[in-house]
Subunit: 374 residues, 2 copies
């Protein structure tokens, strides 16, 4: 399929912090013009990683230059280890060194790691500069580009340090995703599927029927990304600071984070989207076990994730994940716990997820024991 000229716009409604997400093929080639339309006089610090810089940085810099935008890059190592205090300080000091002011902009040009780190730096320099995101992975286009969660990892846990900080503009170039590995694309796609499973059965049906078209690119991919962003934006607009409903976005994440923790965030073993895929199957299976949903839905979800090429059980992780106790240790540490009670996102069926407070830890333990130790 040829590149599409379609540009979809998703408005994230957050009062005076509202902003647009533009989604379309080759938006990178319009970056300067689009940034100028929201911030006419801003200079830019481009925060990126070595991998993205090698393929795309020159194009972005030339485009900004042509639009008359002064911009300098800050290039970091790729990978989760970059979301650290050390790199945060490096980025902040580099931005200050450039003598940028509050009215200037930090541009995050990369995946979730770069978006989270650069966003926290933008929030912190002079107590808040303008922030622009150009997410280059499918995961960051449909997840981190909506909702303003920024931050770094603590040695004690992932994403424990950060800020809620909204961008002024997000440019999601859907053609840039052609440069991702198949594994990275699939992992991001797990989050796309998640939006169908949370509260949009029609979207889930559409996704089941259009996996090939989405892989190919063009309008179907644009539709998948835009629908995902719109779904997340609607939830975030109602609950910006995660006081309630926003927790729905954690479908599959409590189990997924535990798996990521146990496998020590080694991306050769498990990446985030793969953990979420397994976690979504577990959330459906546990819901069925608690008589909240039909086992048929678990089967349907499992089959689709398999078709996409995502893992659906822990069989590939048995060198790491051995006991229910191991899992429970991570689940209880998860920052979404509230006053010691377990909160899970369960489901009444496809597109019917809900927040379950006070889930008995013993039931979760028994469920995991059956899977892992029998």
């Amino acid at each position: 399929m040829p590149d599409s000229n379609l540009i979809e716009t998703v408005r994230v409604e957050l009062a005076d912090r509202s902003y647009d997400i533009l989604i379309g093929d080759n938006l990178l080639m319009q970056a300067g013009e689009k940034i100028k339309s929201v911030l006419p006089n801003a200079k830019c610090a481009i925060v990126t990683d070595e991998n993205v810089a090698a393929i795309h940085l020159e194009a972005l810099q030339e485009n900004l230059k042509a639009a008359g935008i002064e911009a300098k890059p800050i290039i970091l190592p790729a990978g989760e280890a970059t979301k650290s205090y050390t790199h945060l300080q490096t980025v902040i000091e580099a931005i200050i060194e450039m003598r940028l002011e509050r009215g200037d902009a930090v541009v995050a040009f990369g995946g979730g790691v770069i978006g989270d780190l650069a966003g926290f730096a933008a929030a912190s320099v002079r107590r808040g500069m303008n922030f622009i995101q150009i997410p280059t992975s499918l995961l960051s286009q449909v997840d981190s580009s909506v909702g303003g969660k920024t931050g770094i990892n603590s040695p004690q846990g992932k994403n424990l340090v950060g800020a809620f900080y909204q961008p002024k503009l997000v440019l999601a170039d859907t053609a840039i995703l052609n440069t991702l590995s198949a594994r990275e694309f699939r992992a991001g796609f797990a989050e796309v599927i998640k939006y169908g499973l949370i509260n949009d059965a029609d979207f889930y049906d559409w996704l089941e029927q259009n996996w090939d078209g989405i892989q190919e690119g063009g309008e179907k991919r644009i539709h998948a990304v835009a629908t995902s962003c719109r779904a997340k934006a609607a939830i975030v607009a109602r609950d910006e600071f995660e006081a309630g409903e926003r927790a729905l976005l954690n479908l599959g994440h409590t189990f997924g984070h535990a798996l990521e923790g146990i496998t020590k965030y080694q991306s050769d073993v498990l990446v985030h989207g793969e953990g979420v895929a397994i976690g979504m199957v577990l959330a459906h299976a546990f819901s069925a076990r608690m008589n909240q949903s039909s086992p048929d839905d678990t089967v349907r979800v499992t089959n689709y994730l398999k078709k996409v090429g995502l893992p659906t059980d822990m069989s590939g992780l048995r060198n790491h994940v051995k006991t229910a106790d191991q899992m429970m240790d991570f689940i209880a540490q998860d920052k979404k716990v509230s006053r010691g009670n377990l909160t899970f996102i369960l489901t009444h069926g496809i597109g019917q997820s809900y927040i379950a407070n006070d889930v008995p830890a013993a039931e979760v333990h028994a469920f995991l024991t059956e899977i892992l130790e029998s």
Copy 2:
């Protein structure tokens, strides 16, 4: 004068971030009860410094314990050097180690350094925990307790890294100020005088007449602190993120920060309030030189600051401050510069300060040359 039973309440109106400042003698002895009234179930991390801890920590801990509040202290070295990346990380990791959640609270128990650092930590742990301030210096009671500016210093400049983050409650114990040194009390009082000079000539008159009573303590001191908080709260309510009017609070600060920078923040040479005192005289003198105000006002302000025991010129700093160029280097670096133009807070007279954009740097330079080099 005996301690007063009066408690003044200043409401800081910031929509869903509104909060109360309570001002009164011996409020420390009601801390548990007051915290419980806004956060019934919160556990607390008390961030404090060695000096404050030595005198007051036991009393606070006993009071919280009596109210049934679980609390642990994090004790840091006293002094400006504590507002660093290193100590920020120490505080954040200690809070996480205590397994506190978003609904728990970080209590800043100390002066401005502790308030700024603890506030930034509270803003950053889990992207925002509850924050409570118990400011123990006059400066922090009338300045840092209002307005939500938190942060640390960069090696490249003071307060360049941080967040706007509002507390849930501020307890300003005016009797605790009796344990300050006379120099520290006077330095904080410079900021009290500033509120009169900005936009309240009646308050300035009252301050001139009541310096003895304010030093003594009780109702007059409570009135001085409450009026200062109210003045700052009114400005902050109209301009939370310093887009305009809030800059008025920088009266005396551009010159003052330059003096602090040149003397390398050595508190034996110059403390913040002393820099502000000299800066306020310079702002009045420069305004008179620009034909904006009467030289009589400069004389009146100088005389009152002298009576209080504050420095009013740079004569005590001549080992450090030698040339106008030295000053200009710091003034142009100041983070309140906007697009390279100099913005100063000037005055049309006592209680009539205003924001002057586009002040010609050459005029400032000539003014400082006359004072320093002639």
